[in-house]
Amino acid sequence: MIDAATEAFFVLIDPSRLFYLLIGVSIGFTVGFLPGIGGTAGMALLLPLLFGMDPYAAMALMIGIVAVNNTADTFTSVLFGIPGSASSQATIMDGHPLAQRGEAARALSASFIASMIGGLVGAVVLLLSIPIARPLVLSFRTPDLFMLTLFGLSMISLMAGKRPLRGILVGILGLLLGTIGGAAGTPEYRYTFNWLYLYGGVPIPVAVAAFFAIPEIITFLAGGGTVSRTGRVEKGSLQGAKDALKHWLLIVRSSALGAFMGIIPGLGGATVEWVTYYLAKATAKDKSQFGKGDIRGVVAPESCNNAKDGGSLIPTLLFTVPTSGSMAVFLGGLTILGVEAGPRMVTTQLPITIAIVWSLALANIFGTAMCFIMARPISKLTTVDANKFAPFLIVLICAGAYQSTQHWGDLALLFGIGLFSWFLRILNWPRIPFIIGFVLSEGAERYLFISMSRYGYDWLARPTVLVIGALTLAVILTAIVLNRRGATFQEPGPGHRQVEDGSGVP
């Protein structure tokens, strides 16, 4: 383990790979900062570039986005009261009041330091879980892997929002789209309609870009105007850093909670943030300033939402169970690189796993530094007309989608699926279930086919199968209970404010 960690570290600090880490951090910073775009869309932009890349560099690129997204989304939350992503809603409660009374720099710098510490805690949690998870995953057989895939698919019920039927329907659509092309276990092609392009299936980058990036950008363009009217960053950065270090115990506690809750699929960044915020308030001796500009109301949620990334990578990497939309896209990225998530991540691919841990740690440090540097110029960007920068994003998406197969079919699918997804968006249908179904479709069918071929129906009686099946049922029942209580999942859009007890897409 130590040898693998050392090897992975020296592999990662190769200048060419560090370069990609910095690019990922830059992209993560940009999409985290722009409200409504989000880490999922940012990853979607990135996927086409992964073809043929060195796996370590590609991991660094993807982790750079994931790690920094939750740091950069603080800008608009603090400066304008608009959550940069669903994971920065709670930060508005005290961050924006601080900005309103001229202490924006203090709030921002405290949140950056808290985010960095949170991210490092998350990386440590991920590293420590590897030796514990190793014997566990090695005991898994194909039926168990199928049940884990089913467990992952059950997340659809948690992410389905107020109308679970719609979420499940969209998830089924994703499953169906994943069956296009070659069948698992048999030499046959499905739903190709004699179009050679579809023999390889729908490319993941095209589906993800079409489903997430296109609707967000079109909505931005249609809405017009600027992201926000005002934004200024005054002095006070040093005070903010001191505040963060003063409340180090709160930060560590919130980070640990965030890392633990990140392991649980379907909770979402917003839920994790709100839980930590309310816990920080409940355990504070003096609660009078919470909601009016208490710095603890900034550092607690910000540290937990970065730590959550480390926790959420555990089930994603080790059990192929994506805990969120961005993790589902991340899983898609692994597929493109030929890296198989699951037991191999703690055996033959252990160096890659540990490289991810190192990438997470370094990305948080670099991202924090970048946030400090970019604080002033970034605040001006939010006053730029959406029509001035959104077309450039469209161009990047189209160029990126074309890299999938370098066929005009990539562009055709991009538009067709993007149009459909945009309709889903404006009608408030959930979209995250689609990507979960799409990414897990092939694995589900393959594991089921092998399980039936190898074990017949006997695999249904395996203890691990029964345990995971019970957990799957528990997830679905939890979703039903949450839905009845009104504490449901809702995907926010640009400028969306959500202060009810709901979670959102990270």
Partner: protein, 154 residues
């Protein structure tokens, strides 16, 4: 009302899609058939239930039809522009189409001056070409791009 009608339309579309997928799956071999057929049948049933629910219920999410109309109008026009851009990519070539798209987007959409818009569009394409070539990206070539690249190579 508009939102409800659109939701009904969407549910109907999904129902028809699932039914078509299930019918198409009948032509597959036995092993290739069971997975998509099961999914499609389940999807069709759920789509039918959703269709009935939407048709019979009043929407409680807010009847902001005006807002939806604005979203539709604005969104569809931008989607039409995107469609035109994609067609232009496949016929004229990526860079020619991109210069035209960016130019029109920032000139008409953002209100920048004519010359500034053109320079910005060309600069963005030049940067994209240079960086894309450096990292090995492929761009669709059309007849105008081919002519331009041939002229530049002399």
């Amino acid at each position: 009302m508009l939102k409800q009608r659109l939701s009904i339309g969407l549910s109907l579309f999904l129902l028809l899609l699932m039914l078509a997928a299930a019918l198409n799956a009948q032509e597959f071999g036995a092993l290739a058939r069971y997975f998509p057929l099961s999914i499609a049948i389940a999807g069709a049933i759920l789509a039918l239930v959703e269709l009935v629910l939407v048709r019979n219920s009043e929407l409680t999410e807010g009847n902001d039809d005006k807002h939806l109309e604005n979203q539709l109008r604005g969104g569809l026009s931008h989607l039409a522009a995107l469609a035109a851009y994609l067609v232009a990519i496949t016929t004229l070539g990526f860079f020619s189409a991109t210069v035209g798209y960016l130019f029109l987007a920032v000139w008409k959409g953002a209100g920048l001056r004519l010359l500034h818009s053109f320079v910005l569009a060309v600069a963005a394409c030049a940067f994209l070409y240079w960086s894309g070539t450096y990292i090995g990206l492929a761009f669709p070539a059309g007849f105008i791009d081919n002519l331009a690249l041939s002229a530049l190579s002399f």
